[in-house]
């Protein structure tokens, strides 16, 4: 199954906490790009991860050539054309930066957006950054609208402080661009509140088509009402996956397992074997990225992308 995201990386502060160094990554078959990345370091405000750290908000970089992107030659060889960096903060302090890299593909329909309430009233969200590939009309519509709290996918996530997933966006009343999304071939969307910085809130939305989903499966985990266990609020994939559902019926204890570690440390994690793909026709899930959603130093949710 082709997924929209080709490369996923986690960058973490080094011992002095002045630079970002490579923590882990999923590169599929992009071995040379992986080798070019593993040795890389980024200072504050340097490269895509360093820039996201400095600006305190998610960034979308649509053109690598003549930009602040540091691995342009390697990315070009690997066919990667777009980068998204999502900083994970606890208060003022950076815990990690998650980077997604995508490839231009005429067969894909998808968009990645950064919404923020940067208007004077701070009461509505607008797209401040986005990658739409060839969906030019949908981009125009999206950049023109603003949404209030509780309105649209981004507004819902902003209001709830939680990730919101809509599996059939063209039919969702909550999604105000439903008609345009359908025209653009977009079927599914997830919105994730990512950071508050300098009195502005930021929400990421990932919109994708059935043929090129974001990931093979996406899960949203939240602490239970007692705050003692994580429970799976939602699991979504293009095709039903009973095995994944079995694991989603379990609860997660703080500190135990990959998701438990994300809860304990607030750090995103990548797990699994990037090289193993022994049964792709079964959509076997062999790698996972789990990103924490942190609000005022507390874990609100974990979004896991399974590839």
């Amino acid at each position: 199954m082709k997924t929209f995201i080709k490369v996923t990386e986690i960058w973490v502060p080094d011992k002095q906490r002045t630079h970002l160094e490579f923590d882990s990554g999923l590169y599929g078959g992009l071995v040379k790009f992986k080798a070019a990345s593993e040795q890389q370091q980024f200072a504050y405000n340097e490269g895509l991860p360093g820039k996201a750290w400095a600006e305190g908000r998610p960034l979308v970089l649509k053109e690598f050539a003549q930009s602040y992107f540091k691995r342009t030659a390697a990315a070009k060889k690997a066919g990667l054309t777009c980068g998204i960096a999502i900083p994970v903060f606890s208060g003022d302090f950076l815990l990690a930066v998650v980077v997604f890299l995508c490839a231009d593909d005429e067969h894909h329909a998808g968009a990645i957006e950064v919404w923020s309430n940067q208007d004077s009233s701070k009461q509505s969200l607008k797209v401040i950054d986005g990658y739409y590939g060839s969906l030019h009309y949908f981009e125009q519509i999206s950049r023109d609208i603003s949404v209030a709290k509780d309105q649209g996918l981004a507004g819902l996530a902003w209001a709830q402080g939680l990730p919101v997933l809509i599996d059939d966006i063209s039919k969702a009343d909550a999604f105000i661009r439903a008609h345009d999304a359908k025209q653009a071939g977009i079927t599914m969307g997830i919105s994730i509140p990512v950071s508050d910085h300098l009195n502005s809130s930021y929400v990421m939305t990932f919109l994708s088509a059935k043929a090129t989903p974001l990931a093979k499966r996406i899960q949203i985990w939240v602490p239970d009402s007692e705050g003692e266990q994580l429970i799976c609020l939602e699991g979504y994939s293009k095709n039903p996956n009973e095995l994944a559902q079995l694991f989603e019926a379990t609860t997660v204890t703080k500190g135990v397992g990959a998701l438990g570690r994300v809860w304990l440390t607030g750090m995103p994690v990548i797990t699994g074997d990037d090289d193993a793909d022994y049964n792709p026709e079964l959509a076997s899930l062999n790698t996972m990225l789990a990103i924490p959603v942190i609000e005022q130093g507390r874990l609100k949710a974990i979004v896991s992308f399974l590839f």
């Binding site: 095995l243 694991f247 074997d273 022994y278």
Partner: protein, 191 residues
């Protein structure tokens, strides 16, 4: 009439008794000597059987034979004069079917070839059975590990874990072992 394609390797290129006997017995015989291109020659002519007539097999030859048997097994008969027990041990490791010391008697050639062929087939059947048993054992281990994970994470009984695993495998039209691999991979993600 035998039409087995035999590659004959002799250290004494002037000796022709064995080659003649093979031809007379109806085998298709190609005679050569051992050299560094030995494996390439086998690949090129794809013989049904290898036959050697030499004093003692060198380490290099035995290593080549081991490599060949891994790649594509074939019956091997070796006539030699070396009766050293270490040499015999190495020859057996190289999967030589018949090793005859100081016993080249062309009158017995047909029976020697027949015994070698029969032993080769028998050994191949044993090897295949062993491989299947190892694979089943490996599957059994995977299934037990997957069951243990389902028991631990889902609070299943052993029976429930087994039946869940079997249902998942049946739904996907795959073996229990293959399904167990999927469960283990999924569990690795959450480790």
């Amino acid at each position: 009439m035998n039409r087995l394609n035999v590659l004959l390797i002799e250290s004494d290129s002037t000796c022709s008794a064995l080659e003649s006997a093979l031809n007379e017995a109806g085998y298709l015989c190609l005679k050569s000597h051992y050299d560094p291109d030995f494996l390439k020659l086998i690949k090129q002519i794809t013989p049904d059987m290898l036959m050697f007539n030499l004093q003692s097999p060198s380490k290099k030859l035995l290593a080549d034979l081991q490599a060949q048997q891994l790649l594509s097994a074939m019956p091997i008969i070796m006539f030699a004069t070396d009766d050293n027990s270490d040499s015999i041990h190495q020859v057996i490791k190289a999967e030589v079917c018949t090793y005859i010391v100081n016993g080249l008697d062309v009158k017995r050639l047909n029976s020697i070839v027949s015994v070698a062929m029969a032993r080769f087939k028998h050994n191949q059947a044993l090897k295949q059975a062993l491989e299947e048993a190892c694979a089943k054992l490996e599957d059994r281990k995977l299934i037990d590990r997957a069951k243990a994970i389902l028991i631990k994470t889902q609070n299943f009984t052993e029976d429930e874990a087994y039946h869940t695993l079997r249902k998942l495998a049946m739904d996907r039209h795959i073996s229990l072992g293959e399904m167990a691999k999927n469960v283990l991979a999924m569990s690795e993600l959450f480790k």
